[in-house]
């Protein structure tokens, strides 16, 4: 790790100001950034911690659904979202291990937009709203490819608002080493239809499986998927699974998520 300066602002405005500095980098739970710095693959001049900002912490019901502060650790979401959005709480409780869940945050996860991270699937499947220090962004507009989001220079996530579905489930198949999602499927059923978001499988990161959404919106059961196929084109192929294997997982896990959602 190289030397760096460290700032820990206590308001969103202060954070925005600190991040305007040359070479500044936002730090949330640090679960990706810190290991990257330790390997000297990143060397920001200033780290601006977002974890000391009270308004970016916590889980509560509010306008438009469940509001989760961007700097809220996974372990807190696992505990406090349970009563309101159990599938989301279960997802948070299944990320990494206890140490990761105590430090890692929802804002950090979706700002990084790792193609195998869990949270993007929940945000996309829920049609959630990503709130930043500048604006509100619909989930469908927010995720823009591998490690790429709609966030602009100097912009950071401050909270996420999740509409509460009538039923939902997340089923994740672990990559055996990292325990990221080799493939993970989040299914959420709303009055106006079903949304299915897939993480871990797509070459362009999290995506909606719209054919499944259409089939499930008519018949919310695993059987509704039987006629569908997933095209391996565009699926990730790596050491842990081929594109065809991941395409299979998308279908199998979607069915299991529907069954689990009930």
């Amino acid at each position: 790790m190289h030397n760096f300066d460290f700032a820990k602002p206590s308001t969103i405005a202060e954070a925005a100001k600190a991040l305007a500095a040359d070479g500044a980098q936002a730090l949330s739970g640090g679960q990706t950034l810190i290991p990257t710095m330790k390997q000297r693959l990143a060397a920001p001049g200033v780290l601006v911690s977002l974890t000391g900002i009270a308004e970016m912490q916590g889980v509560c019901m509010g306008d438009g659904g469940l509001h989760i502060g961007a700097a809220t650790p996974h372990a807190v979401v696992a505990k406090e979202a349970k009563a309101h959005y159990p599938a989301l709480a279960a997802l948070a409780g299944g990320i990494g291990d206890p140490a990761v869940r105590s430090r890692g945050t929802i804002g950090g996860s979706i700002a990084n937009n790792d193609p195998a991270a869990c949270y993007p699937s929940a945000v996309l499947a829920s049609g959630a709203t990503v709130v930043t220090n500048k604006r509100k962004i619909a989930a469908d507009d927010y995720f823009q490819g591998l490690f790429t989001t709609a966030l602009e220079e100097g912009e950071f996530v401050t909270s996420v608002i999740f509409p509460i579905p009538s039923s939902a489930a997340y089923v994740k198949f672990n990559q055996p080493a990292s325990r990221f999602a080799l493939t993970g499927v989040f299914v959420a059923k709303y009055a106006d239809g079903v949304r299915v978001a897939v993480t871990g499988a797509g070459n362009d990161g999290v995506f909606r499986w719209k054919e499944a959404e259409a089939a499930l919106s008519g018949n919310f059961s695993a059987d509704a998927l039987s006629g569908l196929t997933v095209d391996p084109d565009g699926m990730i192929a790596d050491l842990h699974g081929s594109a065809a294997y991941r395409a299979n997982l998308v279908k199998v896990l979607t069915g299991r998520a529907v069954t689990a959602a009930g």
Binding site: R40, L182, H240, Y245, V252
Partner: protein
């Protein structure tokens, strides 16, 4: 009532108090006055010619005290291979020198070609990066695939070795024609090609070394993560740096696991010593986890074709194997023994097989060196054998349990000379098979399979009846086989004046629990409490010349040396007691800590005798030396041969291909058991590693020789949720016939016996699910491989 002390008691490990409360002292925990930090400059290419290493800028950077390159060590001796293997044609193996730092060429990613020593770690790190930036290494095509390495003579890991072949070994070459004939004549022949996957050892504690030098005395000290400090001292002193052995102390303090990877001497140890001398300051180095992945000696990595000839009813007639064994870029110390004498000699298994022939070609590649890893050769033999027997059973529609029973040696056949050069002293393989079958409730399997099916899972059962040769090793035998060292061990038992005891052992404990179990043995023999016995290990300035711990040897070899030293103590005690009790020595008995004149109540306690030895006021000084301290060396007459039967049950998820091990039953014969709790722990750990190999772990280099599984993001280690609650039994005991404790080794058993049981269970599950086209899946039997096999 189970015993609560002495031999056979399940005492909790005394060392765990310090380990579990953070009070262990590992190499990296030691802070030394004036210490400096070494960082190595490692090749980022797998194969390259070093054009220039420019250290001038780095040397001028803040805090930098010294820089070293391969040229600085060009003329010092090489780190040697411990075994000389001859090829089938009688020519000796090709033995390239392994340098302290690479010069001329780099031969694997991670190969160190320069080093920096600085005041701080960060300064050393910055300077190392500078050297990397200022060096020119011309990348050459990487040699990764073994078959290609042997086929393409134009591209060489070592320029002087034209076909990248270390040796082409036949075992036993004289039997080859007879085996070929038997195979030809066999009514049925089974063939299987398989890969024994390369594993990264992943000890919890990475390698670390501290070099010290005292210019006032000329003494060196190396504190290092070693499984055998004396062998390291011998290698560093005599073979690499040319330091007199008596001027070098090697200390291996608490060591957090080794699994084989810390048996060997590595260049980093030589570098910190040389740097310490140059600077007259302590020089320390601790591997980053990435360095461990790139540079610790890896394990396994065999590609094997095995053939088996048998009768139609499953009597095995002949076995023949051809193996390519990867030795990596350099010969690590035991690397030539592992694929040969620790592998080929086990290819008859626990079976009566008249004809066995093993051929191993060991190949240099541009990958990390490969050497012994928990089990070392024996897991490779067991896996090949138990997988092909399983395949035979499927091809001939035979019951795998009955086929094993039919072929197993029977208790009346011992001692048994195998066709591959070993003499099994004792065993009862039917007993462990019966026991495992009872433990596993084999007859209840159908019901369990139906229950699994109701939950959408395919259930399968796999068997492995394994044997291994450990307690390494009889020196006379391994000498014939090419070993360049003896493999005895030694212990000193020092009775202090107040009657308590320090035992100095050549064995090194890096997780095995020696401090507990060795104390139990001494306490039992002397009739004193364990708390009176201290076990000292890991410091060449304190212990007798021993050969360390690996090959499940500590108890069988060093434990025997210790037992013999205690016997000498008792014998001397009898002499002292005879004098004090005014009786003849022959009339003195020793029992329960008391020296007694037989048939009388005249007696002296052990403590009284000890005191008399050190305060010899009433003592036969004219015929007997004062003091009570004895050393014994012990060289075993044979290997020990633990054996057992393992039964694994798995559930396979057809949708995802995921395999869950739902039950694992181990019936082992370890001879007499000194501490059941520790034995169970060793089996649990070994089976856990075996399940890791079978289901999860793999090491992948790409075609450029880059390690793709170089971190825990991609290298899957088994976790608690990947293993079941083990069902372990060691009640079938045929005591070893040639050591006084009657013990066999237990440390590697689990890792040897378990992988084929797991894979056999997966194949069984798939067949029961109708996927009968799946004949074999290479390890790791990962979800994607299982799914691909089902859908292939």
């Amino acid at each position: 009532m189970p015993k609560d002390h002495g031999i056979g008691a399940s005492l909790k490990r005394r060392e765990d108090v310090r380990f579990l409360t953070g009070r262990g002292v590992y190499t990296d925990d030691m802070a030394l006055h004036g210490q400096t930090y070494a960082v190595f400059v490692r090749s980022t290419v797998a194969h390259g010619r070093i054009k220039s290493v420019n250290t001038a800028k780095a040397a001028a950077m803040p805090g930098v005290l010294a820089v070293f390159t391969g040229e600085d060590f060009k003329d010092v001796g090489g780190n040697p291979a411990g075994w000389l293997i001859n090829s089938r044609d009688g020519t000796p193996m090709r033995e390239p020198k392994r340098p302290v730092l690479a010069h001329g060429k780099v031969r694997h990613v991670g190969d160190a070609y320069a080093a920096v020593v600085a005041e701080t770690y960060a300064q050393a790190k910055d300077a190392a990066q500078q050297i990397a930036d200022d060096s020119v290494i011309e990348e050459l095509p990487a040699i990764v695939d073994m078959k290609a390495a042997v086929a393409d003579a134009s591209n060489r890991v070592h320029d002087e070795i034209p076909d990248n072949l270390c040796f082409d070994w036949g075992w036993i070459e004289d039997n080859r024609a007879a085996v070929d004939a038997a195979m030809q004549a066999a009514p049925h022949k089974v063939t299987l090609e398989l890969v024994n996957n390369r594993l990264v050892p992943n000890a919890m504690e990475p390698r670390a070394s501290i070099g010290e030098y005292n210019p006032g005395t000329g003494d060196y000290k190396l504190t290092t993560t070693s499984q055998n400090p004396h062998l390291t001292r011998l290698l560093v002193a005599a073979f690499v740096l040319g330091i007199p052995e008596n001027k070098l102390t090697v200390v291996a303090p608490d060591v957090g696991g080794g699994f084989g990877s810390k048996i060997y001497h590595y260049g980093e140890e030589a570098l910190v010593l040389a740097a310490a001398k140059k600077l007259a300051r302590p020089v320390r180095w601790t591997a980053e986890r990435s360095e461990s992945f790139l540079t610790d000696a890896h394990g396994r990595d065999h590609v094997t074709k095995i053939e088996l000839g048998c009768t139609k009813d499953g009597q095995i007639l002949a076995i023949r194997t051809e193996t390519l064994a990867n030795v990596g870029a350099y010969l690590s110390n035991f690397s030539t023994a592992t694929p040969t004498f620790l592998h080929g000699t086990l290819m008859a298994g626990p079976y009566k097989v008249p004809h066995v022939y093993v051929n191993v070609k060991t190949v240099f590649t541009n990958t990390a060196p490969v050497d012994a890893y928990r089990g070392a050769g024996r897991p490779e033999a067991t896996y090949s054998l138990e997988r092909i027997i399983d395949k035979m059973c499927r091809e001939l529609n035979l019951d795998p349990f009955e086929v094993r029973r039919k072929n197993l040696l029977t208790p009346d056949q011992f001692p048994y000379t195998t066709p591959v050069g070993l003499v099994y002293d004792t065993g009862n393989y039917q007993a462990t098979l019966d026991k495992a079958m009872a433990m596993a409730d084999v007859s209840g399997f159908a019901k369990r399979a139906a229950e699994s099916k109701a939950r959408g899972k395919l259930r399968g059962m796999g068997l492995s009846t394994w044997i291994e040769a450990c307690g390494i090793a009889p020196s006379h035998l391994v000498g014939i086989l090419g070993s360049r060292v003896g493999l005895y061990d030694a212990a000193t038992v020092r009775v202090n004046a107040t009657g308590n005891i320090s035992v100095m052992t050549g064995a090194h404990s890096h997780g095995q629990g020696h401090e507990t179990v060795f104390a139990q043995i001494v306490a039992e023999k002397l009739g004193i409490p364990e708390s009176s016995v201290e076990i000292v290990h890991g410091d060449t300035s304190k212990i007798p010349f021993g050969m360390g711990s690996y090959g499940s040897r500590s108890l069988a070899v060093c434990g025997t040396a210790m037992t013999k030293a205690v016997d000498k103590i008792i014998a001397k005690g009898k002499k002292i007691a005879a004098h004090m009790l005014e009786a003849s020595e022959g009339d003195i008995t020793f029992e329960d800590g008391k020296f007694q004149v037989a048939g009388t109540d005249k007696a002296k306690t052990f403590g009284e005798i000890a005191f008399s030895a050190y305060v010899p006021h009433n003592y036969p000084l004219e015929t007997l030396e004062p003091g009570l301290e004895e050393t014994a060396f012990y060289d075993p007459a044979n290997f020990t041969y633990p054996a057992g039967a393992y039964i694994c049950e798995v559930e396979v998820d057809e949708g995802t291909g995921k395999v869950d091990v739902v039950a694992f039953h181990c019936a082992d014969d370890f001879g007499n058991v000194m501490n059941p709790l520790i034995v169970e722990g060793q089996v649990h750990g070994g089976v856990g590693q075996g399940i890791g190999q079978a289901l999860l772990e793999f090491t992948t280099y790409d075609e450029n020789g880059q390690l793709l599984t170089g971190s825990y993001m991609d290298y899957p280690m088994p976790r608690a949720e990947d293993v079941p609650f083990y069902n372990v039994d060691y009640s079938c005991q045929t005591p070893c016939t040639h050591n006084p404790l009657g013990v066999k080794g237990c440390g590697e058993a689990g890792a040897i016996g378990s992988p084929p049981a797991v894979v056999n269970a997966v194949i069984d599950a798939l067949h029961r699910g109708g996927h009968t086209h799946v004949k074999h899946i290479d390890m790791p039997v990962s979800p994607s491989r299982v799914w691909s096999a089902i859908n292939g």
